[in-house]
Symmetry: C2
Subunit: 244 residues, 2 copies
């Protein structure tokens, strides 16, 4: 289970490089930190649940978080991945009083949180906060749009390829022979991201491993040849119907 504490005193450098807080004075950042609760979460732990009253909002300091929904049939659908430095649970920014989806850690995580009532205070008081937050909302919306387009128009292999590309783009870590996804990820997770089954993902991965595009072991994926993967993901049908 995660542990919750406010001590020792949080260092100001935690926030001072994040776009939301960049323009603030040392004192403002100090105030913000002094009101925060810091907490560690184990991997695969629910931070907040869809439909629950949105009581707090979080800043992910370290680790990765998945935003997901669970269908009536109990099937998980991953909507987004969030990396450190990002705010989550900002229901207030989109005029909601309940969390619209579930947030679950993908790896061990460290997060600060504040009561939602402070969101309005921050928005009012701190220059750039609301603006950067809106930008973040915009980016996520854009990612969702892209997902919808992908799901609607592309075949499984492309969807999986694109999901992988997005993951290494957002949370890739350079390793000796390629770029590794920086948190444990299973075939099942990938299938929940790309709307297919773990079986199909597994088949694709072995095929790509044979071609030297990826290398994977249990819960670890290294993309050795992002270029080639991108070719699979992007569409380069020579015939491009005019947009009439």
């Amino acid at each position: 289970m995660g542990s919750s504490k406010t001590l020792p005193r949080l260092d100001e450098s935690l926030l001072s490089y994040l776009p939301q807080f960049m323009r603030l004075s040392r004192q403002d950042i100090r105030d913000i930190l002094d009101q925060a609760v810091s907490r560690r979460f184990d991997a695969d732990t629910v931070i907040f649940e869809e439909g629950a009253p949105a009581e707090r909002f979080y800043l992910l300091l370290d680790g990765y978080v998945r935003v997901l929904r669970i269908t009536k049939e109990g099937k998980r659908v991953i909507l987004l991945h969030i990396q450190s430095g990002q705010l989550i649970g900002i229901a207030r920014a989109i005029g909601r009083t309940e969390y619209p989806a579930t947030a679950m850690t993908a790896s061990e995580c460290l997060a600060l949180s504040w009561p939602m009532s402070l969101f309005d205070v921050f928005a009012e008081k701190y220059d750039g906060f609301i603006n950067e937050t809106q930008k973040a909302v915009g980016r996520r919306m854009n990612e969702m749009n892209t997902r919808i387009v992908e799901l609607s128009s592309q075949h499984v292999d492309r969807r999986v390829a694109n999901a992988l590309l997005r993951l290494i783009d957002q949370s890739g870590r350079e390793v000796g022979d390629g770029v590794e996804i920086d948190f444990p990820i299973t075939r099942k997770d990938l299938s929940e991201l790309s709307a297919t089954t773990l079986h199909t993902v597994s088949r694709l991965m072995t095929a790509w491993e044979r071609d030297g595009i990826v290398k994977s072991s249990r819960q670890r994926i290294v993309v050795r040849n992002p270029r080639k993967l991108a070719e699979l993901g992007h569409v380069d049908k020579t015939k491009q119907p005019p947009i009439r």
Copy 2:
């Protein structure tokens, strides 16, 4: 082509019942209207295009608008339907300087528009404007999430059923023997909403027509038995796996 004019003087009642403007004084509304450009659009006309600089934002007074993207292969994917009373092109509200998608009229439309620079002015000056706008963003985000979940987890027939249900919910008009979708809609449109082909939609429609669930003619769809359609759309598998 659409015509553009500022005369005759717009009536205040156009705005005074909309949530964004509800709390405002007569004078404020007058000011807002005096800065607006009013314009009529024919059906199937582009209002603004994805990627273009977001120079104006719009308030749809009458008609229906589709928000869509076009894939590299030239395939259209409809992201949302917008009904009258809603703002569109509010890129600014999500921190963007370009329109993230294309807006196209689904029927003849009437819209007011303002230069984007006024967005910040409205947000600052008029109580409730930014709040209601954020709520609208939240609703659209929610709809997108639902789309993603649907596309990821449901079969074609359910997706089409749900798309229809959403359409009659958002823009249904009571007619003698059911609820009609209030704007011209083709099988192709429906297929672009539910990620399938017009052929499959056609087959489903004829099957449902045989069952008395819908009635359709060219570009017109009447849902006679929403209840039954909802049964098709909702999932009522008795076995509900635990959410472990």
